[in-house]
Amino acid sequence: MNQPRQEKQADGLSRREFLGSSAFVGGMAAFASQLVGCRAFREMNSGAIGSYALADPKNTLYTTCLQCHLACPIKVRVWEGTPAKLTGSPYSPQNYLPHLPYETSPDQAAPADGKLDVKGQSGVQTYGDPYRLRRVLKRQGPRGSNKWRVVEFNQFIEEVVTGGKLFAEIGDERHYPGFDEVYALRDRDLARRMAADAKKVGAGTMTLAAFKQQYSADLDKLIDPDHPDLGPKNNGFVFQAGRIEHGRKELMKWFTHDSFGSNNAYEHTTICEQSHHIAFKQMTGKTHMKPDLLNCEFVLFWGTGAFSANFGLTCMAEKVTTGTISGRLKTAVVDPRLSNDAGKADWWLPVKPGADGALAQWMIRWILENKRYDARYLANANKAAAQADHEPTWTNATHLVKIVDGHPLQRMTAAEAGVGSDNEFVVSHRGKLLAVADDPKRPVEGDLLVDATVNGTKVKSAFQLLWDEAFGRTPDQYARITGLPPRLVEEVARELTSHGKRAAVDMYRGAVQHTDGFHTGCAIVTLNMLIGNFDWKGGLQVGGGHWHESGGKAASIYNFKKMHPAKMPKFGPPISREKSRYEDSSLFRDAGYPAKRPWYPFTGNLYQEIIPSFAQGYPYKGRILFLHKGTPALASPAGDKVIGMLEDPAKVPLFISSDIVIGETTMYADYIVPDVTYFERWATPHATPDVPTKTSKVRQPVAKPLTEEVEVDGERMPLCLETFLIAVAKKLNMPGFGRGAFVGHGDFHRSEDWFLKLVANIAVGDKAGERVPDADDAELALFRQARRHLPPSVFDETKWKRAVLPELWRKVVYVLNRGGRFASFGTTYDGEYMKSRFGKAVHLFMDDVAGQRNSLSGKFFIGYPAYRGQYDSSGKPLDGEGAYSLALITFKEPIGGQSRTISNYWGNIALKNENAFVLNPVDARRLGLADGQLARLRSTANPQGVVDLGNGGQKELVAKVAVSEGIRPGAVAVSWHYGHWAYGSADVIVNGRRIVGDRRRAAGICPNHAMAVDPILKDVCLTDPIGGSASFNDTFVTLTPAVSS
């Protein structure tokens, strides 16, 4: 009640005084009447403000975000059935540091909100996007014309399963294949026999004639009876997923591999950063490691950082900022552009685009030359030696490698050296040869630098190979290639080697989305190896891992690997020829080198290569393309090249897309089957290795589905990916769906039949005694109340309960009430080590890689970190810049994802409504461009600076110039998130009605469509032949002044 008086004192001017002096013409009477209300408000507020309905645990659900692949556990505050406010989950180590104990009740956790970045926060608008699809659409004009009509779901299933003249209604008499036709080989036992024998034909150990004779009755089930090793016609079905995560990923494979018998199920990893995974995998067997940022004293971020994208922003940022402010941590950033990280780092290394591998070699050279490496760690040749030094890991740096015809081909065996068996390797120890026993009682150390001849064979130690490579260029040469001053590089190399094990080099996309991404990645892992930081506190860590939701562990209840009732074999190579050797195929036997298109024995999920291979029919023709939550036309470099392929039914006979909005690639489909957003469905994503404690995240339906509710085999459910797969499978009577789908564990009729079993495995844990507690009655009541807004087609407790064993139900509820399972923060460290360890050998020399030839050139790959510049698919160096003088690079802002956040008005439009060409003033002057001016992007691949969208028209590669000191001269940087031509930005016709697009969503530019095309293949971007990464950063471009059209 005293407040008005206090207010006067604070303002120094009373209300009456103000009114008296005011010249305002609004009328005093109005004021007088409103003052009453004013007083009432103050009285109301003299005490506490009213309660906050959104904070009520009954309006709160926990799930997992998917605005980016970091997939943060989130707390969703629901209001009237829709997500109202999102925050990070306080149970989650990604979002709350340290996180709340897992035992904390949802009531206690209610007021604690964790961190979530712009993308995550904006998820409300991904759910609430007015351009979201509700019903199945079928095209009513040529592909890409964006004319559609709504079809009933069951009619759609009938059409795509049966096939036929599906578009006769628009005058197209062509036959479209259905699932029924492509699902040719159905007998699992026959498939197994044929697969085994076809493999022999590929390897040349069985004649084609013998094969044909044996399977004469079934040759019609094969794609090509003359090349039976290409597999059955079933491989004509290709499931290409853009963003798919654990839970759904396994379901994709269950449907595609195990039930349908096609070897074509893909994720998008090569357009992300696959070469980084493959470098780690070849060198360590693990695909991903991260610095222990809580204890590092120095981190070198390479083509990435903790403040914008990576893996990721939300969990890493605070560890770096608090470390920096406390004086514990210094950072350096390698990036041609001044990222937010670089802008705050102690050192910025603005390397020339594409010279990352050279920079790594230069640093290696300096470290070797100045003896700054951990020689004791590197001398350990086996586990026993490492253990004697209390080192969790060891390396093959000392192992001897045979040099055959000048090529370091394979490690020498102890048998070849005459000192042991053929399953042992060999080192030189003070000049004497020793077998490297895999014996915990026999430590073996070796000499690091060995260049010798053993039994007539030239050998070098792996470390010697590295030495020779690094010293192959002088510092002056390195300085010219990288564009960096020697003093800066030396300073950073010295810093990296000045903290013992408490330093690390972290890399991501920027370092490896090059044609030499694999070798650059290996060189960066090697920088870590030189200080031997694996598994050490403050070094490089593998992360806490997860409880295995797919089962197969001692305590697991549901082992998904063994539950399929009639699992088909993998028969034939994937259409992308990934994880397959050309030399093992009958095509190689016929044609030898060069292969028509490259084979990729070391990598997978080769996203950019799928549609071109499908359309070219190499190694075989595709029949049905099912695209799920993907947009290769937008997101792949040179992605525009697939548009012509997709528009031609002769090349892509049936094209179905599963999407939430009509995206840039979805618009070329024959049918679109709506999916739900991550708020309306299930998944069990894994955590980044930045999280040191064991983490199993659960995504679950938290909002009412906005897609149409349909009926499949008597069950009501919302339209989504799972509904589509279940409906197709049931129509085909495919094993693995419907009655008896899970051997010993019942039927698969609904989403939860699959996903709740995954959740149950998480709840029981991997080992005995790891079960979570039962939810008590109060938690069970809360569980129901918090789901009161979900329709019975989504949440029907009886149906959910039925999906798992009765005794597991309350444990499942316990996990769902917390959105997953999270080990306590106290389980992070074990003395000076990480508690969760890698604990194995690091392979400086990689025999598998060294022994494999490039399938186009027939030349061996280099099996250790090396720098050879950028090259085409045959290994030939790329032409220089020519007339195009700017090196194009890309980056992510912390506000958006690559292709799906333009619907997020708060993040992608209110904060920043377009992207720009970021250009150094030196280049801007040279090109006659000013800040804010419109410019057109041109390159050899796209000299006109216009993207041909086929029937969809065209898109100009025009955007504004942003002049900045934060980029090295000679480079131009363009961010993602913008440059859409679909995704709600363009008009579409549905049932004859024009739905006008929101033009704000078309702003800016997507730089992919100026990116280089492989000079040999001509229909796909440049690709790392080993790691498979699509090259986003090896194109030279120019900018010319443009006018807005």
Partner: protein, 313 residues
């Protein structure tokens, strides 16, 4: 009385060449003030760059332990908040401390705030401006989050013709939406550009109505949901011009959350851990500790507005 939208001082988070030039002048200004700083005056211009090297004066905020004893500052602040709420309102003083070295420019605060308060186009409570300082290759990136300063002597309240806006005893400057007539005098009076006007717009209008054939009305429900600013449930609905549509709007330190034991939305989500909040009336609080830092400063100190938002430079 109509002020054109273009004239409104809506902070633009993007730094254009034009305002970089402007900032360059302010930086010059800052350098002069930096000299004054040595003489005991503490001041910093809006948008000015931190010209002091990050490593020169590290404030030893609570030491960063490396193990299980790590204290979560969010948990500490929540404990302090609960303690403060047990006192009468007059005895607590809400302040915010923003560590500019920890700000990574991610803008999670801006959007967390927008979602929390369901802010429409043109309304922003907590922009983050960014600036690039120096020439290649010696360039730094600096960010400045700018909530309402919750001044002890707010220039915005006296100009309100209807006294709809005033300062509470706990230091928060609020707007009574039921009283506000939308004249926007306060927008012009605020030297920090902390206020924006709600023109009744929606992100999904009119495009959302156009697309209703695809998914239908529920998709855009988030723009019409109830919000809880100042502890009162309100809805912004298309075609119904009622508060807060047409009102002046501003940051209120999320009083509706704070008084329910929750940290302001920007504080809870700050990825770099740069934004801290608490009761300055509690000498044991984290914010009280940090205001004692050698790095502390406030924006436009010379205006005498006495902001409750402190920066660590």
């Amino acid at each position: 009385m109509r002020i054109d939208k273009e004239d409104l001082p809506v902070p633009d988070p993007e730094v254009t060449a034009a305002n970089r030039a402007q900032n360059a002048i302010e930086r010059g200004d800052f350098l002069r003030k930096a000299a004054m700083l040595a003489a005991g005056t503490c001041s910093l211009a809006v948008g000015a760059a931190a010209t002091v090297s990050r490593r020169e004066a590290p404030a030893r905020v609570p030491a960063q332990p490396d193990g299980a004893d790590l204290d979560n500052p969010l948990e500490r602040m929540r404990r302090e908040l609960e303690r403060a709420l047990r006192k009468p309102m007059e005895e607590r003083k809400w302040v915010m401390v923003i560590d500019r070295q920890k700000c990574i420019g991610c803008k999670a605060c801006t959007v967390s705030c927008a979602v929390e308060n369901d802010l429409p186009p043109g309304v922003v409570y907590r922009p983050v401006t960014e600036d690039e300082v120096g020439q290649f290759p010696h360039v730094r990136r600096v960010f400045l989050p700018r909530p309402c300063m919750q001044c002890e002597k707010p220039p915005c309240t006296p100009v309100c013709p209807v006294t709809a806006t005033y300062r509470r005893p706990d230091g928060v400057v609020v707007v009574d939406y039921d009283i506000c007539i939308g004249c926007r005098y306060c927008l012009n009076a605020c030297p920090y550009n902390a206020r924006t006007a709600d023109f009744g717009e929606f992100f999904t209008e009119p495009a959302g109505r156009e697309a209703a054939g695809l998914v239908g009305e529920p998709a855009t429900a988030y723009e019409h949901r109830a919000t809880f600013e100042y502890g009162k449930s309100r809805r912004r609905e298309h075609g119904k011009e009622r508060s807060p549509m047409g009102n002046a709007r501003k940051c209120h330190f999320c009083l509706h959350r704070v008084e329910n034991g929750m940290l302001p939305a920007c504080v809870a989500t700050c990825l770099g851990g740069a934004t801290l909040f608490g009761d300055y009336g509690d000498p044991a609080s984290l914010v009280h500790e940090l205001v004692g830092s050698t790095r502390v400063t406030r924006l436009k100190e010379d205006l005498g507005t006495e902001p409750s938002v402190f920066y660590l430079a």
